[in-house]
Symmetry: C2
Subunit: 646 residues, 2 copies
C-alpha cells in the first residue's frame, strides 16, 4: 500500500495543497514533527496507546505485579529483580498499595518510592495501585500529586479493604473504586492512564455476577482505560467474562491476571484473601505433594503455561498480567515457555533509559556514569530539560550535590564482611590495591581465595563488551593503571549486533575507543610525554582530587564516542566524553575510594591510609582514540608509557 | 607544554578548586562552552580577533578591495567573481562607498547591497566603506543601522571627498574620519570592527607627514581596530611609515595596500585621484610599452610580487591588502606567485557557509538546495534561529515566499539566446527534453552542436563529485529519469579527501547515496512497485506540483545523508533529507520549469506546451539508500523499474 502523507505542518508553503488522503502522518499536535529523532516510537507513547499498538500489530505482551518489600535490604533486592525481569521486556509492571505500610511516604519501602524507582531508575513503565476507602479527598489528591511529580503516569484505582469488620458506606467519601476514578479524572483530567480491577467470577461482596459487571462498566465509563482481572483457574472463566463484558458495552482492553501456583501456603493464603474456590482437580494434584515445593512449582508452571496458551490461542487475549509474589523463577519460566520473554531485548540506546516522562527525549549521556546509571539519573533528577541530540545544548549542567548520592540503592549490595573478603582484610601497599583491580578484571580469586565481583565504581560484574578487552586490561591493572571504564572501538557493526548493537534494526553503530583509570603522578608524568606523539589522535583529560585539570580538548566541547546511523533518521550520538561533566564525575569517583573502600577499615589503620593516599595523590585519566577505523592505539599509549618509565 | 585548563564553568562543582594555572581555556564569557560544535574557530571570531590569531600563528593572509558596479549585469558578474576569488581564501574583502551612486540604498548596485551579498550569499567576511563628509548624523546612523541589520560587522571609516572645490569645516558636523569613528563607537558601542585609512606618504591635504601621523593616532585612539594604507610604490615607504606609527604609540595592525599595475590608464587615473608620485624608474619602464596591456600587466605583477616579498620578509607584515579594480587576473597571479592563494581551500562544511553573524551557528541544511545555495540563504534570511546540529530543533521551518526568489543574482547568468541554443530553439516531444538533460550530464554537444553548461536547477557545470556517477546518470536521463541532484555513498573517507572531504583534518566523512529527479507518472507507478522490495533500505518522497505526497519516511523526521566524525567533537551532520522542507523545495523546483524554461518560448507554442505538460504531470522524486556501507542500490532500483516497464 502506498502511504499517502499530507504533512500537518502549517508553515510549509504547500500545506494548503489539495490531493492525497491524510493517513500515515504521525506528527504531534504541537508541532509538525517530533523535536527529537524517534528511535523507539513506544518510548513517546502513553501506556494505553502502547497497548493498542501492540494489539493492532498482533504482538503478544506481558506485565508483572509486585508488592512493596518490608525492609530496606529487601528493597535493594527487589530493585535488582526489576532490572533482571525488566530485561525480559514487560509492557509494564505494577506495584501494590498497602495502606498499613504508609504507602505514600518517602520511606525506602513505600509503594510510592518503589514505583518511583521502577520508573526513574529501572526505566520500567509502572502502574501504581491506590486504594481510596477510609481516606480523605485531600490525602488522595496529595498522593496523586506526588505520583505525578515523581513521573508516574498510571494509576490502578481500587477501593481497598475496609478497616472494620463490616463494610459501611461513608456519605460523600470514597466508597467504591469508581469514586476514585471520577476523582482522578476531575482533578487531573487526562494526565493519568487509569486501570481498574475486574472479577471474572464476580466480586465476592457483589450482589451478583451481573451486578458486578454493571459496576465494572460504571468504572470504565467514569474514565478507566483498561481492566486487569483477579486471578482465575480456568481459561473458560476468563473468556466467558470477557464476552459478558463486551456484551454490555465494555470495549477497553481486559487483561487476564495469571497466578502461577508457586507453593502450597501462598496459594492457600491468596485463596483465603480473594475468597476464590480452587477447583477440585487442582486440589487433587496439590494435596499429595504439598510439602514438595519444587513439585508444586513445576505443576504450577505447567498449569499456567497451558492456561495462557488457551487464552492466547482464543485470539481474544493480547497481553497477560502475572501475579509474581515478588518471585522470579516461576513467572520467568512460564514466559519463556510461552515464547514471550524477550531473549535478546533490543536496546533502544546503549544505556538503560528512564521511563520518567520528562526523560523521554533524553538521548545523550556522558560515558563516565556508564557503570553507575542510577547515580547519573539521581544526580540529574532536578534537570528540567534533557539535552536531546546534542550535549552542547545544555550549557553548564548542574549536577546534584554529592552529599545526596548515598541513595540507598546506590550503596553496595554486598555487606561489609563480603567486601573485606573481596577487597582485602588488610592492605599492605598500593600493589595490594592493584591486585584487587586485576582480580576484578580476570575473574580469578584473590590470594585469599575470594572472587572480586564488584568494585566501588561498578556494582555489577564486568560488561560483556569489556570482555573484548580483558587481556589488555589485566596487564595494565597489574602495573597500576587502575581501570574503571572502557570501551573498544567499533567501525560500523550492524545495530542488531548482540554485544555492541543498539537502536532499530537496519542501522550501523560506531564507537571510539575509550579508557578511564586512576593512576599515580609518576605514571601521569610519563603518560603526558607519550601523549605528545599522539596529539590530534588521542584526546585526554587528567584531573586530581584537588581539581588540577590537564586536557587537550578544544573549547570544552564534548567528544561523541558512541553513535549510530539508522534508516530515515538523523544521527544518534548517545554517549559523549564531556569535559564539563567530567569534573562532577571526578568528585564522585574520588569520593567512592573513601566512602566505599577506606571506611571499611579502622581510622588510622594502615589499610585506610593506603586508600587515603591513593585518593589524595592519584589522578583520574580518560583517553579517547579518535581514529576509530584504525586499531585502538590506547594500549600502545600505555605500553609506551611503561617503556618510558623503565 | 602541558595545557593546564581551569574551566570557566561556574556550575561545575569543582570550579572553585585550586591548583593549575588558567591558560588554554577558550570558553566564551556567556557560557562555559560553545553551544555548537566548533569546526572552524575562525567562523565564530570577529575580524580583529581573526587578524590577531593569524598574526600569532604566523599565517600570512590577504584581502581584496572591490568597488560597486554600475549595472545589474555587472553586479551579477562581480558576484561570480566574489565566488571565484573567495575560493582563494581572502581574510576579508571590502566594498568602497560611492556617495554619488546612492551607496546606502536597496539598489542592486549599491555599496550596501553588494556588501550584503558578499557577506550573506558568498560567505565572505566583508568591510563596508563609509564616508561622512556632507552628511547628517541621522543619515550616517541610518546607514549603520541598516548595515547592522544586514549582518555587516565591519566599517571602514573615511572622510570622503568634499563636494565643493574648497574644503570647509562644518561646525558640529562630520569633518574628519575621526568624527565618524567616534560616532560609531558612541552609537554602536563595540558592535562594529572599525578600520581607518593610513597614508604612507602623508595625506595630500595634511599640513605635514608628522601632522598626518598624529591624525592617524587620533583615529586609532578614538576606537579604530586596524589600519589599511593607501597604495605606495616602494616597500621602504611602507616600512618606514610603520616604524613611525609604532614610534608614536600606534600598536594596532597596519595593513599595506597593494596596487598591482594593470594598465597605463588605470594607473594614471589612480595617481591623479590619490595625488601620488609615480617613481621615475617605474615611469621609465611603462612609458615605452604604454599601448601593450599584457606587457604592462606582466610588469605590474613582477613589481607587486617583489614588493610584497620584501614586505613579508621584513617580518613586520602579516597581511596584504589588494586594490583589485574589480579585476581578477593580476591579483590572483600575484597571490599565487607569493604562495598565499589557497590552492585547495578546506571546506568547513560540505556547503558554502554564510558570513552573517546569526548564521555562524548554522551547521545543517536540506540537500535539495545543494545547487542553489543562494536561493536557500535568501529564502531563510528571515529566520531568527538556525538549526544547529539537528534539523529537528527547528519545528516547521517557514520558507520565504516563492514570489520573492527572483533575486537578480538567482536568475540565470546566461542570456535568452544562449539558453535557447542549449535547451533547444524548438522542442518536439518530451524526449527532446530528455536529450537536454543527457547532454548536461555528458558534457557532449546537443544535436545543434551546443554544449549544455547549465540547467534551471543548476547554475553551474556539474560538481566534481557528480562525475563519479556520470555513466549511470547518462543512462537514466536518456530514458526519462531527469536527474537534478545526486550524491554517491561514502563510507568513511578522510576529511581531507579532495573531492568529498570537508571539516578539520583527522576526521572521516560519510554519505548516504541520494538521487533526485523528475519523471512521468508511468515511471512512478512502476517505481513504487519496485520500491516495495527495498522497504527499510530505501527512503523515498514522491510529490507532484499539486501536492500529492507519497513517502515511507517515518514521523516526518529528517534523514541525515552527510555526516562527519572529527577528533574531540560531536558528530556533525550538515546535510539532511527533510520531508517538511522538501515541500517548499518542490514548489521552487517545479516553478523553475516555467520561469526559466517555458517562458523562453512564445505562449501557446508547442515547445512551451511540452514544458508546461511536464510541469503539470511529472513527479519530483527523491531516493535515499540508507545502507551506506554497501554498494549504492539506487541504480538497481531504477534498472528494476525500467525492466518492469518493458
Amino acid at each position: 500500500m502506498v502511504n499517502e502523507t499530507q504533512p500537518t505542518c502549517s508553515a510549509s508553503s504547500s500545506s494548503k495543497s489539495e490531493g492525497g488522503s491524510s493517513s500515515g502522518s504521525e506528527g504531534s499536535k504541537e508541532s509538525s514533527r517530533c523535536s527529537t529523532p524517534v528511535l523507539d516510537a513506544e518510548r513517546h507513547e502513553r501506556l494505553r496507546d502502547r497497548m493498542r499498538r501492540r494489539q493492532d500489530s498482533g504482538d503478544k505482551w506481558f506485565s508483572l505485579e509486585f508488592f512493596p518489600p518490608r525492609t530496606a535490604n529487601a528493597a535493594v533486592n527487589l530493585i535488582s529483580r526489576f532490572d533482571r525481569m525488566g530485561a525480559g521486556g514487560p509492557l509494564f509492571i505494577d506495584v501494590t498499595w498497602h495502606p498499613a505500610g504508609d504507602p505514600g511516604s518517602d520511606k525506602e519501602t513505600s509503594s510510592m518510592i518503589i514505583a518511583n524507582t521502577a520508573v526513574n531508575y529501572c526505566g520500567l513503565e509502572t502502574i501504581l495501585h491506590m486504594t481510596c476507602c477510609n481516606q480523605t479527598k485531600e490525602d488522595i489528591t496529595g498522593h496523586l500529586q506526588k505520583a505525578k511529580r515523581l513521573g508516574l503516569k498510571n494509576i490502578m484505582a481500587l477501593r481497598g479493604d475496609p478497616s472494620g469488620e463490616e463494610w459501611e458506606e461513608e456519605v460523600g467519601g470514597f466508597n467504591y473504586a469508581v469514586d476514585l476514578v471520577k476523582h482522578i479524572r476531575s482533578e487531573f483530567d487526562d494526565y493519568f492512564d487509569i486501570c481498574v480491577a475486574g472479577y471474572p467470577t464476580g466480586h465476592p461482596e457483589a450482589e451478583s455476577y451481573e451486578a458486578d459487571l454493571r459496576h465494572l462498566k460504571e468504572k470504565v465509563f467514569a474514565g478507566a482505560d483498561f481492566i486487569i482481572t483477579q486471578l482465575f483457574f480456568r481459561s473458560e472463566t476468563f473468556l466467558k467474562f470477557m464476552k459478558d463484558c463486551q456484551a454490555i458495552g465494555i470495549t477497553c482492553p481486559i487483561i487476564p491476571g495469571i497466578f502461577p501456583i508457586q507453593g502450597y501456603h501462598s496459594l492457600r493464603q491468596l485463596v483465603k484473601l480473594s475468597k476464590l474456590e480452587v477447583p477440585q482437580e487442582i486440589k487433587d494434584v496439590i494435596e499429595p505433594i504439598k510439602d514438595n515445593d519444587a513439585a508444586i512449582r513445576n505443576y504450577g508452571v505447567e498449569l499456567a503455561v497451558s492456561m495462557c496458551r488457551e487464552l492466547l490461542d482464543s485470539g481474544m487475549v493480547h497481553g497477560l498480567h502475572f501475579y509474581t509474589l515478588n518471585r522470579e523463577v516461576a513467572t520467568t519460566e512460564v514466559l519463556k515457555r510461552l515464547g514471550i520473554w524477550k531473549e535478546d531485548p533490543r536496546r533502544p540506546l546503549p544505556w538503560a533509559v528512564s521511563a520518567h516522562p520528562k526523560r523521554r527525549v533524553e538521548d545523550v549521556r556522558p560515558i563516565f556514569w556508564a557503570s553507575r546509571p542510577k547515580s547519573y539519573i539521581y544526580r540529574t533528577q532536578e534537570w528540567d530539560d534533557f539535552p536531546n541530540g546534542r550535549w552542547g545544548n545544555s550549557s553548564s549542567p548542574a549536577f546534584g550535590e554529592l552529599k545526596d548520592y548515598y541513595l540507598f540503592y546506590l550503596k553496595s549490595k554486598s555487606p561489609r564482611e563480603e567486601l573485606l573478603k573481596m577487597w582485602g582484610e588488610e592492605l599492605t601497599s598500593e600493589e595490594s590495591v592493584f591486585e584487587v583491580f586485576t582480580c576484578y578484571i580476570t575473574g580469578e580469586p584473590n590470594k585469599n581465595g575470594h572472587k572480586v565481583t564488584c568494585m566501588p565504581w561498578n556494582d555489577d560484574p564486568l560488561a560483556t563488551e569489556t570482555n573484548l578487552l580483558k587481556e589488555q586490561l589485566e596487564k595494565v591493572n597489574r602495573r597500576g593503571i587502575l581501570t574503571i571504564n572502557s570501551q573498544p572501538n567499533i567501525n560500523g557493526k550492524p545495530s542488531t549486533d548482540p554485544i555492541v548493537g543498539w537502536g532499530p534494526s537496519g542501522g550501523y553503530v560506531f564507537q571510539k575507543a575509550y579508557l578511564e583509570f586512576f593512576t599515580s603522578s609518576e605514571i601521569v608524568t610519563a603518560l603526558l610525554k607519550v601523549l605528545k606523539k599522539y596529539e590530534l589522535r588521542v584526546n585526554y583529560h587528567i584531573v586530581n582530587v584537588k581539581g588540577q585539570n590537564i586536557t587537550n580538548a578544544p573549547d570544552l566541547q564534548p567528544n561523541a564516542v558512541t553513535w549510530g546511523i539508522f534508516p530515515g533518521r538523523e544521527i544518534i550520538q548517545p554517549t559523549v566524553v564531556d569535559p564539563v561533566s567530567f569534573l562532577s564525575w571526578k568528585d564522585e569517583a574520588f569520593a567512592l575510594w573513601i566512602e566505599q573502600w577506606a571506611k571499611l577499615y579502622e581510622e588510622e589503620s594502615p589499610s585506610r591510609m593506603i586508600i587515603q593516599y591513593i585518593h589524595d595523590n592519584y589522578y583520574l585519566v580518560n583517553l579517547v582514540d579518535n581514529d576509530f577505523p584504525l586499531e585502538n592505539c590506547l594500549w600502545q599509549v600505555v605500553d609506551d608509557t611503561f617503556e618510558l618509565l623503565n
